[in-house]
């Protein structure tokens, strides 16, 4: 029956539709092949950004304009290519005749495949093939990853990267998991990234930095491929999938945070793959051993890699399974989704049993702080955080702020259109309904931005929420139109306008996700994350490892603690790992009884004092950690007298002096053997 209908449809198409489509598309024909054009624009973009990095390191002018020029070239050309017209008239007519007005996600696979093959066979020279679109998407993803790598092309310098390097070193040293990580205790409880790195390290002998770059790059390719394939399945168009992928890349975490050598950078792509495998498995009505294998293996690895991502995947799959069960008449159709959700929950719980339940208290603290502050702001007992507030002389330029607000506003304003288009234009699949429900969380995530404790949660939430936003947004922007009634059918149609929207979304995501000081390298500054990593601090870490030996309990500011805890393999003691206010020991002008008690209770042997803390307020909100005097609201530097007080304390030895950094042996104060 299908074949007969297909022949009929194709016969009508032959009568002239393809010719008309081809004529209209030839007007805006591409004059260069797509993939080489994307490679060229990506290369040019990276050259501009490399120059921006160079200029920024020398504190020269025009670093930011160069950076943005690079981003616009890279993303703009890719966006233009991805928006290149598919033979949409042909596709629409074929689809309507063959299968009627249903969304592609609702189609049985055989018919969908049939449709795709017809469309693919008829593409004109102006249209991009599916493979070309996939290649362009992967090239953009890798290009944006290279932007992060180029900020520090020889070593990891982000705080989280030091924390995970410590877990990796502990695994390589001991051969076993779950050593205590003083820099990020939860990292050693979810050591999937480090276990993979250790496997590759002992097998290949390649050093951690190049291997980590390769591993995260591979994860990034997997992530965007999964987004593309999921979006293609939902929208039913490679063009829509390309646009969805680009919108996904506009999430604020994509450029820097998700590119870091961090467990989330691996876990998120694994979760996306699991989602794709579930989606494909369900479309095959549970008859695909490959997708089962992928699901089982990937979700098991995910559960050992990252807590929040496992939780998010389990939650989404559960919602999807419930929606599918209700809408599609019981478990008969939805059992693959339910099985995937159950496996995710099982793996997550099993990991809690294996690794301990510290993750629960960690997560409840992280989420509790943010939501508590939102409630306090709503109740009027707390003030909303000022967005883009300048810090220690670093401020976000006004044009960047404008782009960030514009991008966020575009997502919020387009939300109703995209949601109604998804839910009202045609009978949505249960997956689309689940996506729509997830997208509704975006405003809540934005609310967290106005809290000091919740802004990080808000930022991390976007890497999940931009999947539904990207897919539904792309479906609204460039997806099929089957019926045209209702105001939500409006959408921008001019290709330059849509391209401008895409570029603004990506640029806005970059601004929201990272300050200029966080995305461009530069001269040393106090407590400025990667800009605080410099040779004197690294030399201290090397010295400590060589001459003090590993695992010494010490107090140090955030920057030196990260270096000492990773390269030095020392044991920095802080509130985050010991519930002790060690920052007060350094920042108090006089050593109080409480400080002495902290030294004793923490079994502290050494105190590392960086005199540069007295030079400027921190760029990052804290010198040490959230739990410190005036944490998050510093307007003046630490008094020099606070940092120099140890010189006059009896029983304290001064055993290291490199000009800016002093190490004191305080065992004489705590009853150790030092003094």
């Amino acid at each position: 029956m299908t074949a007969v209908r297909s022949r009929g449809a194709l016969g009508r198409l032959r009568a002239g539709a393809p010719a008309r489509a081809a004529r209209s598309e030839r007007v805006i024909a591409l004059r260069v092949p797509a993939v080489p054009a994307a490679v060229l624009s990506g290369g040019l973009g990276l050259l501009l950004i490399g120059l921006a990095d160079l200029v920024s390191r020398r504190a020269g002018p025009f670093a930011l304009p160069l950076f943005w020029a690079g981003v616009v070239v890279m993303v703009g050309v890719a966006g233009w290519l991805l928006l290149a017209p598919a033979p949409s008239r042909v596709r629409r007519q074929v689809r309507t005749v063959l299968v009627g007005p249903r969304s592609a996600a609702w189609l049985p696979r055989t018919r969908s495949t049939e449709t795709a093959s017809v469309v693919g066979a008829d593409r004109s020279r102006t249209a991009l093939s599916r493979a070309e679109r996939v290649a362009v998407v992967v090239l953009v993803a890798i290009g944006l990853y290279a932007v992060k790598v180029m900020t520090s092309p020889t070593a990891f310098v982000l705080p989280d990267e030091f924390s995970h390097l410590r877990t990796l070193e502990d695994i390589l040293r001991s051969g076993h998991l779950f050593s205590e990580n003083p820099l990020l205790p939860i990292s050693s409880i979810y050591p999937g990234l480090e276990a993979a790195m250790a496997t590759l390290t002992v097998g290949s002998g390649i050093a951690a930095f190049p291997l980590g770059v390769i591993l995260i790059a591979a994860a990034r390719i997997v992530g965007v491929l999964a987004v593309f394939l999921i979006a293609e399945g939902v929208i039913g168009s490679a063009r829509g999938a390309g646009v969805a992928s680009l919108i996904y890349m506009a999430n604020p975490s994509f450029l820097m945070f998700d590119s870091a050598f961090s467990y989330e950078s691996l876990a998120l792509p694994l979760a996306l793959v699991a989602l794709w495998a579930t989606f494909a498995w369900q479309r095959r009505r549970g008859r695909s051993l490959l997708h089962v294998a992928v699901l089982v293996i990937v979700i098991a690895a995910l559960a050992a890699t990252h807590h929040v991502t496992t939780l998010a995947l389990a939650g989404f799959l559960a919602v999807w399974a419930i929606v599918a069960t209700i809408r599609d008449g019981g478990l008969r159709a939805s059992w693959p989704v339910a099985a995937a959700a159950a496996w995710t929950v099982l793996c997550g719980v099993a990991w809690l049993v294996v690794a301990g339940t510290a993750a629960i208290s960690y997560l409840s603290f992280v989420f509790g702080v943010g939501f508590g502050q939102v409630l306090a702001i709503l109740a009027g007992t707390d003030e909303a955080k000022r967005l883009f507030a300048p810090s220690a002389g670093f401020s976000t330029p006004l044009p960047e702020e404008a782009v960030a607000y514009l991008a966020t506003g575009l997502v919020v304003l387009a939300g109703p259109f995209a949601l109604l288009h998804a839910l009202r234009s045609h009978r949505p699949s249960s997956f689309v309904v689940a996506l729509a429900l997830a997208a509704l969380l975006y405003p809540a995530a934005l609310a967290l931005r106005f809290t000091a404790g919740g802004s990080e949660v808000s930022q991390r939430a976007t890497e999940f929420l931009f999947l539904p936003i990207g897919i539904l947004g792309a479906d609204w922007l460039v997806g099929f139109r089957f019926r045209r009634h209702g105001w939500w059918h409006w959408r921008p149609t001019a290709r330059p306008v849509v391209l401008a929207v895409l570029v603004i979304l990506v640029a806005g995501g970059i601004v929201v996700g990272s300050s200029p000081a966080g995305r461009l390298p530069g001269p040393y500054h106090v407590a400025a994350e990667m800009r605080s990593i410099e040779p004197e601090g690294r030399a201290l870490a090397s010295w400590a490892l060589e001459l003090l030996g590993p695992d010494q309990r010490l107090i140090a500011d955030r920057t030196n603690a990260k270096l000492l805890g990773s390269a030095g393999l020392e044991d920095p003691v802080m509130a985050a790992n010991s519930h002790l206010g060690t920052a007060w020991v350094v920042m108090d002008t006089k050593l109080s009884e409480a400080d002495l008690a902290t030294l004793r209770d923490g079994h502290i042997d050494y105190v590392v004092v960086d005199l540069r803390l007295a030079q400027a307020p921190p760029v990052y909100p804290y010198y040490f950690e959230q739990s410190e005097p005036d944490g998050g609201s510093h307007t003046t530097p630490v008094p020099l007298v606070s940092l120099q007080k140890f010189d006059s304390l009896p029983g304290v030895l001064r055993i290291y002096d490199s000009g800016n950094i002093i190490v004191y042996d305080v065992r004489g104060l705590t009853g150790g053997s030092g003094g």
């Binding site: 060229l40 017809v118 000009g659």
Partner: protein
Amino acid sequence: MAGLVIALAQTILGESVGPAGLLVLPIIAIAIVRATTARSMAWPEATLVVIALSLAIAVLVGFVAALAPRGLSATTTGALEFVLLAAALAVRLWRPPAPVTPRPQGPPPGISAPRTGGISARAVGLTLAGILLGGAGFGVAAYGAQTQAYAGYVQFFAVPASSGSGDVVGVSNGLADSIQCRVSLVRPQAGTSELRVPDLPAGGTWTNALPHANAGETVLWKLTLSCTAADGSSITRSLTIAPAA
């Protein structure tokens, strides 16, 4: 077969087999794909599945190896990879061949075939130009990172000697040029002495054992480092140590 050989070599040698060690995981992933489906996949799906499985298997192999009594090592991970690969190959051989759906040999009637011309010289040129530009960008960024000007440093330190023979004092030159230094040792109960430090080139380190404390000498010692840099600037560092008896 290559994967089996590499994994076996890693297991027997007990050490890394070089970059070839990275190939084992994708080979296992491909073997799993072959063992679970007879369907051919388009390259995006195939790339996705192979890389994702490689990453996930790396995680799980590391996890299982680390739980083993011998711990995670080249031997344990190699053995696990060997077993996984052998199992996937065995399943592939054991499974009856699935019926292969014939793929369409061409476009349906009335539809023109897609253009499948070779790669044009223009495409090759543009791609090479893009790679060169991107490489240049990376090179510029790397050059900037390697040549970034940081304030130099001079480390002055004292640590207990490992043999228990007394403390060791040391100087390390982290400046770009050589420095001339001297160390003065003030012992409140035994006078002042000076330690001679040879010229220290950039990156050079000097260490010297300090004398033992006299009986009853309990007051802390003060050490002061005074250096002159190549540009004439002076550098001073100071330490306070407990005398080793």
